[in-house]
């Protein structure tokens, strides 16, 4: 007779159970991603528009001097590629986190959260799965960018991976924290206006910080305190096989803080209670 037959459950979980759970969640997210081709195309079109149109237009306006990690003058397209990679991750993180808090994925979140494994671990796995999807998007972007003469060293494609995992987790948990913390912020337009655009523009994604400093010392100050700047710089250096230690520390610290905050603040009752009695959800 098994333990559960007597109504006695085993305490704790083995490492194999934790691993099985993680691989299961990532596997499902990848399967779903493969079924949602429109989402994939949409995620790629955004950065490619920036690369093909915006960067082409601005390459003559903005001069970029030689700054680390670059060893020669680089085209503007080359300069903004890491910023666009981080942008892909930011959109992906915000979108998937919003859907975790609000109705769209509530069915799936119910299934996830009745797993007996600790809730913090389930949410961590979910964030990691979202990051895995963003990696697929970023590498697809890099592949297309390669034909556009954005050709980092071959080893860079490998060394950028840990940087992308870290930045993906940071942006995903930031998205979850924001979604959990602000009651009225349920549509994506609000997040775009108040979070994504300010973070993106007040960062080193589109212009080097020394240029910003020349124009506005105040904005330079803001950019330096923007975690997104450090995500971009971490990715930029890693793409050229280097480590930007300041950015690594900032991104690691922010990832930890956002994740703890997000897990603490995550409240499924918000997504469920919103439907009210009419939806039979009381």
């Amino acid at each position: 007779m098994s333990a559960t037959t007597l109504g006695q459950a085993r305490r704790g979980f083995s490492l194999a159970e934790y691993t099985t759970c993680l691989t299961g969640i990532v596997w499902r997210e990848a399967l779903r991603f493969l079924h949602q081709r429109e989402r994939f195309v949409a995620a790629l079109v955004r950065p490619l528009v920036w690369l093909f149109i915006f960067a082409a237009g601005f390459r003559q306006v903005l001069g970029v001097s030689i700054i680390p990690p670059y060893e020669t003058y680089v085209l503007y397209e080359v300069f903004i590629a890491p910023g666009l990679m981080a942008m892909i991750q930011m959109f992906n993180g915000m979108q998937s986190s919003l859907s975790m808090v609000y109705d769209r994925e509530m069915g799936n979140m119910r299934t996830l959260l009745v797993s007996p494994l600790p809730r913090w671990y389930l949410l961590f796995c979910k964030l990691l799965a979202g990051t895995a999807v963003s990696l697929l998007q970023v590498y697809a972007f890099l592949l297309i960018a390669w034909f556009w003469d954005i050709t980092p060293p071959t080893i860079g494609y490998l060394t950028v991976l840990p940087a992308l995992i870290l930045s993906g987790l940071m942006l995903g948990s930031l998205g979850m924290l924001i979604s959990s913390g602000i009651k009225q912020l349920e549509n994506f337009a609000g997040v775009m206006n108040f979070v994504i655009f300010p973070m993106f523009f007040a960062s080193s994604a589109l212009y080097p910080l020394w240029r910003v400093q020349e124009g506005s010392p105040m904005l330079y100050y803001v950019c330096q305190f923007n975690p997104f700047t450090h995500a971009v710089e971490l990715i930029r250096f890693a793409l050229y096989g280097q480590v930007n230690w300041t950015s690594l520390i900032v991104v690691s610290g922010c990832t930890t803080a956002f994740m703890i905050g997000a897990i603490y603040a995550y409240d499924p009752s918000r997504g469920l209670a919103r439907r009210g009695p009419a939806g039979g959800e009381t």
Binding site: T4, A9, T20, G24, G107, V114, L117
Partner: protein, 279 residues
């Protein structure tokens, strides 16, 4: 036979069946804590009180129907039992494991079928089951054999490779029940599992679940607003506007309400007119 005689006979049948099920339940009571024990649970959404001092038990190997209209608080209660919501007042135990203090142990013993569909429509039946198994830490090989086993039991062995989107509503529900059984729980919660299904699919699902109670001794909490899903041997909890108005064997509830059937008992206790009952 007059109208009163018929009512009398129906009440007697309920009582007899009730005594039988009471005897069966008390045999198990002696050896283990209740499959589900809800004690003084209250919950509010802002100022609106969804549950008020709710208390009842589900005995191991018994079928308990949680009867209430839409909006009575059934889904809130399910969200609290499954720790989706934090418990603010009262306590909930699963085989003696408190859901707040030992959620891991409690959730291991529990299978849940939620009211809204929670399957991935674009994935296959097997992929959905394997995902659920992974969430319980069950490895791939074991998960596959368990999936085949539960699909066979639910009469869906040939649909493992089908996309969920291509299944009927009744089949989807049976898949959800199969999924809830994958980790071999001792308590099964079903929230309005037959809503939106045709008469045959409803009957199929109900008989599958009842069979789980008799064959495997699983304790079942079956939330519903349909009177005809309740039979005399069931335990019954009537929930109305967040309060438990009656609980116990069907016969006892009928006795207390002095009515011949569940329908009349519900109306007498709640003051709801039959015309206002949604089906």
């Amino acid at each position: 036979m007059g109208r009163d005689d018929i009512a009398m006979t129906a009440t007697d049948t309920y009582k007899e069946a009730g005594i039988r099920s009471q005897a069966a339940a008390s045999e198990q009571d002696a050896t283990m804590p209740p499959a589900l024990s809800i004690r003084n649970v209250s919950h509010s959404y802002g100022t609106r009180r969804a549950l008020i001092d709710v208390t009842f038990d589900v005995a191991p190997g018994s079928f308990t129907a949680l009867l209430g209209l839409n909006g009575a608080g059934k889904s809130t209660l399910f969200s609290l039992i499954t720790r989706l919501f934090g418990i603010r007042a009262g306590s909930i135990g699963i085989f003696g494991h408190d859901i707040g203090r030992a959620p891991g142990e409690a959730l291991r013993l529990m299978g849940v079928v939620f009211q809204p569909r929670t399957l991935d429509l674009d994935l296959s039946v097997m992929q959905n089951l394997l995902y659920h198994a992974a969430l319980h830490g069950i490895g791939r090989r074991d998960a596959r054999s368990r999936s085949n086993e539960v699909l066979g039991r639910m009469g869906l062995a040939d649909r493992a490779g089908s996309k969920v989107r291509d299944l009927s509503g009744g089949q989807m529900r049976r898949i959800e029940i199969a999924r809830a059984l994958l980790h071999r729980p001792r308590l099964l919660l079903l929230d309005e599992a037959t809503v939106g299904l045709d008469v045959k699919a409803r009957a199929d699902i109900l008989s599958h679940v009842r069979q789980l109670v008799t064959d495997q001794g699983i304790g079942v909490l079956w939330a519903t607003h349909l009177f005809d899903e309740i039979i005399p041997s069931d335990n019954l909890v009537i929930l109305h506007q967040g309060r438990v108005l009656a609980r116990g064997q069907v016969a006892r509830v009928l006795d207390e309400a002095a009515t011949p059937d569940v329908n009349a008992a519900f109306m007498r206790l709640t003051g709801v007119q039959s015309g206002s009952l949604a089906s």
